[in-house]
Symmetry: C2
Subunit: 159 residues, 2 copies
């Protein structure tokens, strides 16, 4: 059912939390507590987020993690890709998989590209900054079209 791995899921939650927090620097422990993400898990995620450059770390006592960029400049797509690798919906678009055997009927290939692009774009259009803006009170900050938080679409289960 096309779902994000928990890793990416948590990742976004964590980044969102860090973006919202007034404190610049956050220690793993605090983040875990605040987000309810299991500490070990949070740690793992934070580490890889550092590796991919979305976070910076200060080691040693009083250490912690800091965002390297303005949350508004970090897209959800980036976080997802940082944690689960490139967003590619189908195996046929994966690197090195040139020999899918069905080359002839594979105009589809290019269309798959379209699908991938579409999704990536969708994910790239939402920033962590936006995610961090509190919604219940409904203050959309730097957002233009304001229908999304109202519509809770049926989400069509099957047909």
């Amino acid at each position: 059912m096309i779902r994000l791995s928990k890793l990416a899921d948590y990742g976004i939650v964590i980044m969102t939390h860090m973006a919202r927090g007034r404190a610049r620097q956050h220690a793993t422990h605090d983040i875990a507590e605040a987000t309810q993400v299991p500490a070990a898990m949070a740690s793992k995620i934070l580490k890889t987020l550092v590796r991919t450059g979305l976070l910076a770390s200060n080691r040693g006592a009083n250490g912690g993690y800091v965002m390297t960029r303005d949350p508004a400049m970090i897209t959800v797509a980036e976080v997802v890709e940082a944690l689960e690798g490139p967003i590619a919906l189908t195996s046929c678009t994966e690197e090195g998989e040139t020999d899918c055997g069905i080359e002839q009927l594979c105009p589809t290939r290019t269309n798959w590209q379209r699908i991938n692009d579409a999704i990536r774009t969708a994910l790239a259009e939402i920033s962590i900054g936006e995610m961090a803006t509190a919604i219940p009170s409904a203050f959309m900050v730097e957002d233009d079209n304001s229908d999304h938080q109202v519509s809770r679409p049926p989400m069509a289960k099957l047909a």
Copy 2:
């Protein structure tokens, strides 16, 4: 890495093939052969596509499967949902999961909705009909912005 299950992957390939084929009715065997999808697998997929109403079946000798709708009227999203259930990126949006524990910091919830919507929309904007139109010769049919098949974006592996 956010990927479609092989089920949905194959599903789209199969639907695309059926849309392209001049023959109205297709038998499992032929479909499997043409698409390179393992026969048993194809069979399984076809069955569920019938159950969800995207295909109709004729049983018995000379039987086979038929699309119930104009391919242009069937979206990729439908096929995906038919095969892997509702498109919901994160567990927190799944039905009945109201007790995510972190209700307070969960303005995020509504933002997840946005993400889900974005993706679903992306997938809903591409029809099987479009998928079926041959691309290599680059005849974009009912499409407006024509940069997607040209741009093979870096697909940013990690950072």
